[in-house]
């Protein structure tokens, strides 16, 4: 039953939003030609839209409150169907097999264009997993993550331009340089409280971009660097198509490597320390964990992946300029981590695919991409701060004295 009071509430909200959005949504001025455009149809849009959204909003809030109560009274939260299915080893194996097959045949079935999009998505998977170490595991909000991505990309581009260094040498160098930057930035900054850290890293990201834009002798300024070679295949020149397929497989390999390393780190002594740090800094220190060192390792390791992703990005596009490394890029990566589920590897991968592929395939939607990303960040935080796929903590089983571990 729809209650009258509910309708009244939503009606009020929709009137409020019509009022709120009136100047910006309805009127558009062109001060140069002194023309004013009135877009009255937008009133309808806002009114109806906010009416419906206010309903959904209230419903979700109510559901969340119920969920909180359930959690408090000790009732087990419902496990999602996907999770349940995946926990069955046979289903899991089948699913992995399917994904594997799809990954292998992808570049042969789909066009170069599609493969290129896939490579971009995979780069973002890598970036997301890297940032996940910093934000998801260690709980450090890093808004300048893109700076490390830029360090990687520019180190390949410049090393290649000046010294002719190839992709495979540049890949570890890019990662290492980014890690160095992470440590240099981390030393002073990681002593700060969480919210200050966010703003300082944001500032750092911007500093790097502004320097790249203005220091022409070093970085060639806004015009960027072109003709960066694609990765070599044992010294053989590849055709454009083949080389994209090659980068695709390379990216698959690197993504797998990233997943492998991140998983292992997560389940290790260091990974536990990161999570403890996120949960309670003071208790963590009181338990004998070196706060600065632990934060620095998280920061540096996260940066390493960004650096390597940067090298690949430069090799893939063969052209880079500072415009690719704005703060919005950092926020997109953050959005991937938040949507997917902070601290969850599967979540981050899912998040990256959703956020990178949907705008590509839903062209109508791509204009509103950043608007929707913003809305996603807010709604996820309000309704599901754990992300779509929440982390599962490792469980251990014990038989008497012998500690036997089982996944």
């Amino acid at each position: 039953m729809i209650k009258f009071s509910e309708i009244k509430k939503s009606l009020f909200i929709s009137i409020w939003f019509v009022f709120l959005t009136f100047p910006i949504m309805v009127i558009r001025v062109n001060p140069i030609e002194k023309v004013i455009e009135w877009r009255w149809h937008n009133i309808m849009l806002v009114g109806i839209g906010s009416f419906i959204i206010s309903y959904i909003w209230r419903y979700l809030l109510k559901r969340k409150e119920l969920g909180d109560q359930k959690a408090k009274s000790g009732e087990e939260a419902k496990i999602s169907m996907i999770r349940e299915a995946l926990s069955n080893p046979r289903v899991f194996k089948m699913a992995m097999f399917g994904v594997g097959i799809l990954a292998v045949i992808f570049p042969f079935v789909f066009s170069i264009y599609q493969t290129n999009i896939m490579i971009t998505a995979l780069i973002y998977v890598m970036l997301g997993l890297g940032l996940n170490i910093v934000v998801g595991l260690a709980g450090l909000l890093d808004l300048g993550y893109v700076a490390f991505y830029a360090v990687g990309a520019y180190s390949y581009a410049l090393l290649n331009f000046h010294y002719g260094i190839g992709f495979w040498t540049a890949l570890p160098i890019g990662g290492a340089l980014a890690a160095c930057f992470g440590i240099i930035l981390g030393f002073p900054v990681l002593r700060l409280r969480g919210d200050y850290l966010a703003i300082v890293t944001l500032g750092f990201g911007e500093i790097i971009r502004i320097i790249l834009e203005n220091w022409n002798e070093f970085s060639f300024g806004p015009s960027g660097i072109a003709n960066i070679p694609r990765p070599g295949f044992f010294g053989i020149e590849l055709s454009l198509n083949n080389s994209i397929t090659y980068i695709y497989f390379l990216m698959i390999g690197l993504t797998l490597l990233t997943i492998f390393v991140v998983k292992r780190l997560q389940d290790s002594r260091i990974g536990r320390a990161w999570i403890a740090l996120r949960e309670d800094e003071i208790a963590c220190q009181a338990m004998g964990i070196d706060k600065t060192k632990t934060k620095l390792t998280a920061f540096a390791l996260g940066a390493t992946w960004a650096g390597m992703a940067g090298v690949i990005f430069a090799a893939k596009t063969t052209f880079i300029n500072p415009a690719s490394f704005t703060v919005w890029e950092s926020i997109i990566i953050l959005c991937i981590v938040v949507l997917g589920g902070m601290g969850s590897v599967v979540g981050v991968i899912t998040g990256a695919f959703i956020l990178m592929l949907l705008p590509e395939y839903l062209r109508a939607f791509s204009e509103y991409r950043m608007l929707i990303f913003g809305a996603i960040l807010v709604t996820m935080m309000v309704f599901r701060p754990g992300g779509m796929i929440s982390t599962v903590r490792r469980t251990y089983q014990f038989k008497d004295e012998t500690a036997e571990r089982k996944r």
Partner: protein, 262 residues
């Protein structure tokens, strides 16, 4: 008896407020010492100063682990204090809420293990065996504290009393020779408090861990402690065996207010 912790002349100022005023305290090996006093007397501040969470304005903290050299730990970071064998619990429970009970205890083992990033990635034999040992040791501690039923539960889902015990288990995992307990019985019912009493004695007798505790439950304090220190307004107003403290007029006045004699 050999003393293992000596605090001398400890003073802590917050702006113009003197929270601790030239405080002296010592704990001997194998002792259970209680620190009592009215709310706001500065007991928790005192703990924070010893464990490196605050830097005291003045004073010395000397740590003398049995069989080892003495170290002056004032100015040490909390993690270094813990490494030296001084562990603590928190009054307002500070568990790692979204980690399992076992993982909480494993965090305590962090400073007693050493594998790094490379070990984590390559999982060499040393790392694997160390990790297995950490799991086993942590489980053993949970057995001693009686929390094995909850091993894989999230810490936040534990009943209140169990959370307090987990705090103790986590602190014990750091291999301390002295354990600082900040109101371990707060919010516990009578039965839980009795169990806690037994547990603390057991920790002292079986693990050879000395104990310094802040507590308001006088029944527990009187039955447990070998010696009691009483604080009021940042100052030490009395010290001695439980019987002495119970009959000390200064202490009674501090607890019940000025007009007891009037």
């Amino acid at each position: 008896m050999k003393s293992i912790l000596e605090v001398k002349n400890m003073t802590m100022d917050f702006g113009g407020l003197r929270a601790l005023d030239h405080l002296d305290l010592d704990v001997a090996e194998g002792e259970i010492v209680a620190l009592i006093g009215p709310n706001g007397a500065g007991k928790t501040t005192f703990f924070n100063c010893i464990t490196g969470i605050y830097a005291p304005t003045q004073g010395d903290v000397l740590l003398m682990p049995p069989g080892k050299k003495q170290t002056r730990i004032n100015g040490f970071k909390p993690n270094h204090v813990t490494e030296r064998g001084l562990a603590r619990t928190f009054q307002n429970i500070r568990l790692f809420a979204n980690m399992t009970v076992l993982e909480n205890v494993m965090i305590g083992r962090h400073c007693r293990s050493s594998s790094g990033i490379l070990g984590a990635v390559f999982r060499n034999r040393k790392t694997v065996s160390e990790e297995q040992k950490v799991v086993k040791d942590s489980y053993t501690i949970l057995e001693k504290i009686g929390l094995t039923a909850y091993v894989n539960e999230f810490a936040k889902n534990l009943p209140y009393g169990a959370q307090r015990r987990l705090e103790i288990a986590r602190a014990m995992a750091t291999d301390p020779f002295l354990l600082l307990l900040d109101e371990p019985a707060a919010g516990m019912n009578v039965r839980e408090t009795e169990e806690l009493d037994e547990l603390i004695v057991k920790i002292r007798d079986e693990e050879q861990i000395s104990i310094l505790l802040i507590e308001h439950d006088m029944k527990l304090v009187m039955s447990l402690s070998d010696r009691i220190f009483v604080m009021d307004y940042g100052k030490k107003i009395a010290q001695g065996a439980p019987v002495e403290i119970q009959n000390n007029p200064v202490v009674i006045k501090a607890y019940l207010g000025e007009d007891i004699d009037a």
